[in-house]
Amino acid sequence: MSEVVLDKVRKVYAGGVEAVRGVDIHVPAGAFCVLVGPSGCGKSTLLRMIAGLETITGGECRIGARRVNELEPAERDIAMVFQNYALYPHMSVYDNMAYGLRNRGTPKPEIDERVKEAARILEITPFLDRKPRALSGGQRQRVAMGRAIVRKPQVFLFDEPLSNLDAKLRIQMRVEIKKLQRALAVTSVYVTHDQLEAMTLADVLVVMNKGEVEQTGAPLDIYEKPASTFVASFIGAPPMNLVPVEAGENRPKAEGLTGGLGLAVPPGGAILGVRPEHLMVVTGAVPEDSLGITFPVSAVEAVGAETFVYGPIGGTGQDIIARLPGKALLAPGTPVSVAASAEHLHLFDRQTGKRIGP
Amino acid sequence: MEKRVVFDGKLLPYALLMPQLLITIIFFYWPAAQAVWQSFFIQDAFGLTMQFVWFENYSVLFANPDYYRSMVTTLVFSCLVTFFSLSIALMFAVQADKHIKAAGAYKTFLMWPYAVAPAIAGVLWLFMFQPSLGLVAQAIRALGVDWNPQLNGGHAMTLVVMAATWKQISYNFLFFLAGLQSIPKSVIEAAAIDGARPARRFWTIIFPLLSPTTFFLLVVNIVYVFFDTFGIIDSVTGGGPAQATTTLVYKVFSDGRLGGDLGGSAAQSVILMILVIGLTAIQFRYIERKVQY
């Protein structure tokens, strides 16, 4: 078990496209780090650079104390789980797991012992003689995991390993991966575009956008204090409401907004953020420091445990979303007033999108 | 399309390519270059001296009515074989594509002439149409036609066209069938709902959607008729009677053989190469782009 350190890592492709622009990440030994971001944000490239499948254009990648920039993938002591599993289709499950050990000249009895141990942990012992095509998606996923854990590597790398599974299985495997990682305590780097997966798995969450790190931290810290409008809208579903506001008298000013006293907006205006789940229906007066929003309901989605209410706010033409608990009896066309308390408000710079308060 | 990840290796890839490249250069490029080179020389009757004559071999060739005749022969032969083998194969493929019983068995039976050597195909047909003892020939003569491919150029051409077509049907059949089966059923069903009757459906929907296959086969068949039919012509007619079935390729062979005119033969080879390169270029231009509907 070793730490993984990325120091100003850059990737420039032959055509001049800069896929990764100077990324610093520190994954403590034994931690589970998740790289999350939209497609094309450079997260997979970053993972493949750690694996040694892409060359590193600039900066340094260290595993443990070792600089690995110039090492072959096989020499880095890593194991990887691929999105499509990349199982060798012509080999049995056993051989798939044993192949890497055989290439390293591990003695036969030890290979056998390790493969059987991994199979036991992953509950795939009955399938050891089968070919991958005779397995279900979830079983293939386990074999791919098994291939990684038999090697007892310093680092596990996961490249969107759950995206080929159906929704139910994905949740189940997500929990298992987390348990397994805890049990083995192997440093892991996990790439996904699914913010829910990222939130649930990560010890260290890295949100990436356009080849740069937007924010690094514990998942809940990032949820509570997103560093930019990008992070605010990427983490959390449905995404945070972002409303352009002007500077009022020590409060934000926009059509349909009330309250918000004490939230200082700079003279040039700003973007006000509030998560849908922090909006509550109010009937009476809104406290001065809370933010009140009144909008006509345009659509209601009741999913049982909660209700999503949509409606346009002010002159922006933008929809606001409120996530209300239980069954909210609201008819489309009627106006509704909702409010969020002061600690749930976020303020971002209008130009850069960076967090400016509170 | 390129691989994302490759192996390192300085000498290994060259070592892997070496056998193929060596054989290619020694037996393809070197002779091709020699053909070009030789086409500028005239060899004396004893093969002892060579004289550089620039384009004389070519001008002699183009002044020779025999060469034009063989061009016309090639053209007629190509058009007939291509047309018949494509249309007959398409007809069979359309039938076999229908959901009928034993479609698989029909397919198997229609497939195997592909494995018959052209020369053998020629012999099989010759055996049926040989004027004095061929079964079919006798039937034709009994009808009052003076069938004799050994004397009548038209009859000889008919015979080689039949043999060449017969040999090629299975290849075309397979590709047409694959092409038909790759047309989404929903498109045909949509056309049916739009009120198109089966015949109209074929010509307005299926045939246009099949055009990439048809085009591919067209080129493949032309190349086939040019080169692979050598065995058929050699075994059935030997280019005769009176050169009535001498195609360009057959002429390269027979001129080089009988006349010992290597320069002239080389010039013909060069012209053929240019032709094939042209055909192949067209083929890949369109296949890469995929003929669109």
Partner: protein, 273 residues
């Protein structure tokens, strides 16, 4: 399907049966002829059903040769064809799969140049460069040898292209997984790529075997027992043979002619003329 059941549902069967008849009839006629004695055939009275001479004709042609023409037994020729076809098919596959491997899985200077050098040979069928190629084989002293017969036909742009296409469809992740599993390039080739290519290899083997077995012009030139080392010399031989052409497949030796059913045996054909 959107076909309605109609009175014409038998039509496809009729058309396909006609197709099978066209395809099968010439071969059937040849088979029937191979079961009759020469006299029956040469007087043009051969019936459409098999005769009594089947075993006799085949054993003679396969193992003894025909007395009249003092010809070699066909069995021997078939063995020759088999050796040639096998060598060509295996050779083509072997050199094509490694060159495709080099082109797809390595980056090296002149990679595309090498690809095009191989690719362009698609445009140079043996027929168009027949005499110069013959001359080179003669210069190398390879006439009348299996080497001369097969090696020039072994280079294959088609097989290289097919393997390249196939390798392109092999997921990149398998290479990556192999690299992480510590496999070298040749280990990847042997342990993963080759087993995955088995179906392609099998399909290609059939096609290339037929190609090798059906070779006609090339063996015609290369196997000259009285090799003179000059194309026109070889050609003279062919000229002689052609003298009896009018009787081809017929007057000369109906038994042998009748035997040419099934997959082709080029050299017999020219022998029997």
């Amino acid at each position: 399907m959107v076909e309605r059941q109609s009175l014409f549902s038998f039509l496809p069967h009729v058309i396909l049966l006609i197709g099978i008849f066209i395809v099968a009839f010439p071969v059937y006629v040849a088979f029937v002829a191979s079961t009759w004695d020469p006299a029956t055939i040469s007087n043009g009275q051969m019936p459409l059903w098999p005769g009594p001479h089947l075993v006799e004709n085949y054993t003679q042609t396969l193992f003894q040769g025909t007395a009249k023409s003092s010809r070699e037994p066909v069995g021997m020729m078939m063995l020759n064809s088999l050796i040639m076809a096998l060598t060509i098919a295996i050779g083509k596959i072997a050199i094509s799969i490694i060159s495709a491997f080099a082109i797809v899985y390595f980056r090296f200077p002149f990679r595309m140049a090498a690809f095009w050098v191989i690719f362009v040979t698609l445009m140079l069928p043996v027929e168009v460069r027949i005499y110069p190629t013959y001359k080179i084989v003669a210069d190398l002293g390879l006439l009348d040898s299996y080497l001369g017969l097969t090696v020039p036909l072994i280079a294959s742009a088609t097989a290289t292209l097919l393997f390249r296409q196939f390798f392109m469809t092999v997921p990149d992740e398998l290479v990556e997984a192999s690299k992480i599993d510590g496999a070298s390039a040749m280990q990847f080739f042997k342990d993963t790529l080759l087993p995955l290519s088995i179906t392609s290899i099998a399909a290609l083997f059939v096609i290339q075997f037929i190609y090798g077995w059906n070779q006609y012009l090339w063996p015609l030139l290369i196997t000259t027992r009285e090799s003179m080392g000059r194309p026109d010399g070889v050609a003279d031989r062919h000229g002689d043979r052609r003298a009896g052409h009018a009787a081809a497949g017929a007057g000369g030796d109906p038994d042998a002619a009748a035997l040419r059913q099934g997959p082709g045996r080029d050299r017999e054909v020219r022998q029997f003329r």
